[in-house]
Symmetry: C2
Subunit: 325 residues, 2 copies
DNA sequence: CTGAAAGCGCTAACAT
DNA sequence: ATGTTAGCGCTTTCAG
């Protein structure tokens, strides 16, 4: 409980530079409508550097009425190499706009998102998927704008992934598809959406709807599912993601089935290991960095009064065709 | 730039409850040395609920001189199911202590950690590995304490993972080991540490030091490495992690080698897919949730003046023996 | 062009 | 037992 050494404040910098705190603030924020002579400006910046001064976020937001913190909520399950690239690009783009990104792993424990939002005084909260109405209201009341990668209207675009998987398989001549659902209940909502995309594509091609089966990351369970699909004359299955797809491939091997002969398999997300299966896994993927960039734009737009919106085009997924289909 | 609707403040709550702001603050913070009658207390809490009031972090930290925000820096590479469990448990334990966790993906782009720290006004910054001296100084100057899962003294414990891999293989009769280094340079430091553990175990067993080879997540590169090890009469290899191990298994298959006959393989981290390889992958793993809990304790201890320290015992890894070794 | 001064929302002495 | 008051570090009018 020892009161720690006083940190350097704007007053220290002002003193060191021989100007007033206000001037320091002007320089640091490039406050428009001020004309600081180059001389003074550099004197201030020099002092800032020398003292390694960093304005306190809390004081800044309190005074300015808005913070430059953006909070990203990530469902604690969809974490993989892809999301990392997305977050990095998102953070970088935000940084270009002078905003700071921090991340929160949504999930059962810990504190509710609105509390976190209030704690860091975020001015924008972003998520991959829309929050439930309660949460959204809480966030707004906590003073934050809310932005998503996929807003409600862009929803159909989210199905694009499933649709693309299916279209690829249908183009290859498959007339009866399966869908491998993920194990975890929290993934269900996304999975349902992707499955809908597959169903759309099937309907459009005039073939039976996909046979969706629950799966587990387990050899025998996967083998059973594979056999079941074969029994039902399914010739190709879309997996929720690459991990499920790899597990299915393993299950098939266990059931002495081979891909793509007995069953063609298609993954999603293009994780590194997808390239290493036997046969290598075909998959669909987003350009995650593009998504990150575009979400950052949406954030900036929101902050300057525009409406939160991500252009659906930015989500366009693409197929990576390998030997497993 | 429309000034948004004024958010509810402690004054609103005070008014609604018919008390002074100070009283509300006392109730909300369980300020010690105050005796608020149950009556008043519940009246305040009721008002808080009705107004869905959430104190602003920035105002709180500014006034109190310390925030309840903890910032966790994650190297943007070590993201996987394991780290997720760790973060969740860490967040939950911190929440129990009234602290809020947010996370920052360290990496090239975005802003430097000390800036993020200042922006959210974190009172503690935690990391998996020690930061470089510059960063650490910046953080301290930004007013944060710094805590790690593995502090310098606990360092030897970090080697435990490598050591355990090696000991397991040596117990199985292997006399010449290999080590599969990860591809990404940022993983290098951790890998070196783990490799040191393997080397220790070898030295202790009186056998040759491990033959470390750089690897890539690529079939032919892995096949080449596998052949090289065989040529050098290595009979078992410790992989940096399960992903590398799985890739090695794939490379061996490609080179028509089988595990564990031609080469025994041992992974690390126990990712779900490790169970599904052929043969299933033996691996070593931490109890990540225990680590999360114990790091939270270290944070709390630091905050109450103790010194940042994680008990090495909490990092004790264990072997998961499967068919690949 | 620069400084003085008034808060932002909250906490923590200090009064009552 | 509760209210009053003085800031926390910064931004931002408004004067000079």
């Amino acid at each position: 409980m020892t009161r720690p050494a006083k940190r350097t404040t704007i007053a220290d910098v002002a003193r060191a530079a021989g100007v007033s705190p206000a001037t320091v603030s002007f320089v640091l924020n490039d406050t428009p409508g001020q004309s600081i002579p180059e001389e003074t400006r550099s004197r201030v910046l020099e002092a800032v550097r020398r003292l390694d001064y960093r304005p306190r976020g809390s004081a800044r937001s309190l005074a300015a009425g808005r913070s430059d913190v953006v909070l990203l909520s990530i469902p604690h399950l969809s974490i993989g190499p892809g999301i990392t690239r997305f977050v990095e690009q998102f953070a970088a783009s935000l940084a270009d706009a002078g905003l700071t990104l921090v991340t929160h792993l949504a999930g059962a424990p810990g504190r509710p998102l609105p509390d976190v939002c209030a704690a860091v005084d975020a001015s924008v909260v972003a998520g991959l998927d829309p929050f439930d109405e309660d949460t959204a209201r809480g966030l707004r009341r906590a003073g934050a704008d809310v932005v998503f990668t996929t807003d409600v209207e862009a929803r159909p675009t989210l199905r694009g992934m499933g649709r693309l998987q299916a279209e690829h398989l249908i183009a290859l001549g498959h007339r009866r598809l399966g869908y491998a659902m993920p194990e975890h209940p929290l993934l269900r909502k996304i999975a349902d959406e992707r499955l809908l995309g597959v169903a759309d594509a099937c309907a459009q091609a005039g073939i039976d709807p996909p046979l969706a089966l629950d799966t587990k990351l387990d050899l025998t369970a996967m083998a059973r599912a594979a056999r079941r699909w074969r029994r039902e004359s399914v010739t190709a299955v879309c997996a929720y993601n690459d991990e499920v797809a790899i597990a299915l491939l393993a299950g098939m091997r266990h059931a002495r089935m081979t891909a793509p002969g007995d069953l063609a398999v298609m993954g999603a997300d293009d994780i590194p290991l997808a390239r290493l299966t036997d046969p290598p896994l075909s998959t669909v993927a987003f350009d995650l960095e593009k998504v990150g960039r575009s979400l950052a734009e949406a954030v900036v737009a929101t902050l300057s009064g525009g409406k939160p919106r991500v252009s659906p085009a930015s989500l366009s997924p693409h197929v990576i065709h390998r030997a497993s289909t």
